[in-house]
Symmetry: C2
Subunit: 351 residues, 2 copies
């Protein structure tokens, strides 16, 4: 597959630009001399842009981004507690707005404990699963409100919205993903005994789609029990499908047990291809270590592997994953700078 891929690049804040730099270095190495040309457009978005212009994400930004085939994002968010950011919710106004406007209904988060990586678990076993987190519904829809704010009679509500349309499409994606993996196992995580309406919709949808995938083994866990298994027997998981909020919680925990969110990549995917999908490390902007050249770019580089795979460049994707795995295996305890890690991985690809 050849041609030109129009890539929107959002380096963002803090360590974002540093890790994106290395991710692009690796992208350059793996596509060098190939048929596919990546044409990059940088977008200045995030806390820094907000502080400069007062804009979080304008309609113009959004329209321009939509003209692209895919997005690579570093991390967005300013220094916690910065009074100048008090009015802005960069996460909601930028990150979540992109996920919603670009209909990223699959938030794909693989968890692999690579050989050589230290887990906080004493006996992690083989950790190799993916979380398919719904990305456009649940309590993330912004459907809350409050009355009598600041008085003793205040009531603040948040509404989790779940639709057959939204649940079915992400469940179908998860079944297809499970069916394509050797173990072919799907675990629905929810809280059906308490969130009975949403839970019932999720459960019935999984049961219905399951009938089309006779090779896929299906089980169910309440979200509280799922956190227990993630620390006592993570090897039991293959594909997890869950709602937006439970997915947020489980993937941070999953990242932690597989060596830290410094290694966790994610894809915000619009499988229909109507809008560009967005690839980003799970970690944040980490202002405390920004500008020092010490951030670990591995998660950003693994996000490039997800991006390549999404674009159908399976071979290039596998090259990046293998180079990262090889680098991780030989890392040991050595401290390297951000660019040393990027250089090492890019060199392996070139070799």
């Amino acid at each position: 597959m050849g041609g030109t891929v129009k890539l929107a690049v959002i380096p963002g804040d803090g360590i974002g630009p540093e890790v994106v730099g290395e991710a692009l270095k690796v992208l350059g190495a793996v596509t060098a001399g190939g048929d596919t040309v990546f044409e990059q457009t940088p977008f200045s978005l995030g806390a820094a842009r907000y502080l400069e212009t007062g804009d979080v994400l304008t309609d113009g930004d959004l329209d321009a981004i939509k003209e692209h085939d895919a997005i690579l994002l570093g991390a967005v968010g300013g220094v916690p507690g910065d009074p100048r950011l008090a009015g802005a919710n960069i996460e909601r106004g930028l990150l979540l707005k992109l996920r919603f406007e670009l209909d990223h209904y699959v938030n794909l988060r693989p968890s692999v404990l690579h050989p050589g990586v230290v887990s906080p678990l004493a006996n992690p076993g083989e950790v190799d699963f993916i979380v398919v987190r719904e990305g456009t519904e649940g309590p993330y829809v912004g459907n809350g409100g409050a009355i009598r704010v600041g008085t003793p009679a205040e009531v603040a509500n948040e509404v989790s919205v779940n639709t057959a349309y939204g649940v079915e499409r992400v469940v179908r994606y998860a079944f297809a993903a499970a069916n394509a993996r050797p173990r072919k196992k799907l675990t629905l995580v929810h809280k059906t005994n308490v969130l009975v309406f949403a839970g019932s919709l999720w459960k019935r949808t999984v049961d219905a789609v399951a009938s089309e995938y006779s090779d896929v083994t299906v089980d169910y866990l309440h979200v509280d029990a799922a956190t227990i298994f993630l620390v006592t027997d993570p090897a039991r998981f293959d594909v997890i499908v869950t709602d937006n909020l439970f997915g947020d919680i489980l993937t941070d925990l999953a990242g932690a047990i597989s060596g830290g969110i410094g290694l966790a990549a994610s894809g915000n995917i619009n499988p229909d291809g109507r809008f560009p999908s967005m690839f980003e490390p799970v970690h944040g902007s980490a202002p405390d270590i920004a500008g020092k050249g010490i951030a670990d770019p591995t998660a950003a580089i693994l996000s490039v592997a997800l991006l390549l795979d999404h674009l159908g460049l399976a071979e290039a994707s596998a090259k990046v994953s293998r180079a990262v795995a090889a680098d991780i295996a030989e890392r040991g305890g050595a401290t390297r700078t951000t660019s040393e890690v990027g250089d090492a991985i890019a060199a392996r690809i070139g070799a």
Copy 2:
């Protein structure tokens, strides 16, 4: 303090009656010859009762329970997937109904990694914290609904309700608890960047009450980040205050890292004393091992320690806790029956 304590006992289903039997054995040992007499009333509630009578919790049951000073509950819930229970949601209709009707706005869940207990974490450090989980609001209120059920146009909503009244009282309890502990540290866990209305209410309430507790150090974590710290640095926690759903998730994870929910006790507390508080192990009815006499009654026995403390019987409570800690320390890998564990702990108290 002398007198009579009217104790409602709900053994429940599965291993519930077995572990409650040992808990009562220990209660008997620690109160033997003392000033306080425990007058017990057994209540037959749970899946077994439902299958027999069709009732989950009648108004009569509820009125009778309210006549008591405290409740000891084993575990409720039938065999998962039992078709005869398909229509009944025992958790909602019994456990949650009791918590709501008896205004158990504090769900208190201590996590202690006792010497001698194996944690799934490689380097757990000193684990000794309590989670103060709100018990009467959040997405647990049963305020959901669905339209067009079973059609492609289905919408299923769940509403999280949070009030200044409800948040303030549990936050006050948490501050008082933190203030009474040596480290005096309180961590609010929420998801303020996404659940902005509920999050803002929780955050403002904590900030306001903090001004009355100058000795208490306060910090904040998003729920996703909190799960990371629970596996990478649980020693950082002293008192966590959080909403009903986040508390449900975090306390199962907390139980797992401190040696399993077989050791985790909880109190559903109405601090006003208007209604009886209810003490229960965090684990469920575990039908798979029921009737074999092999369930670990430790969590139920530790729930008795919480119950005694709640009733102002601090010395008796400490005796139970110490006996449990000593038993755990000497347990090693030996397999003991349910009653052997109860006997051993009761014997230590008598000695």
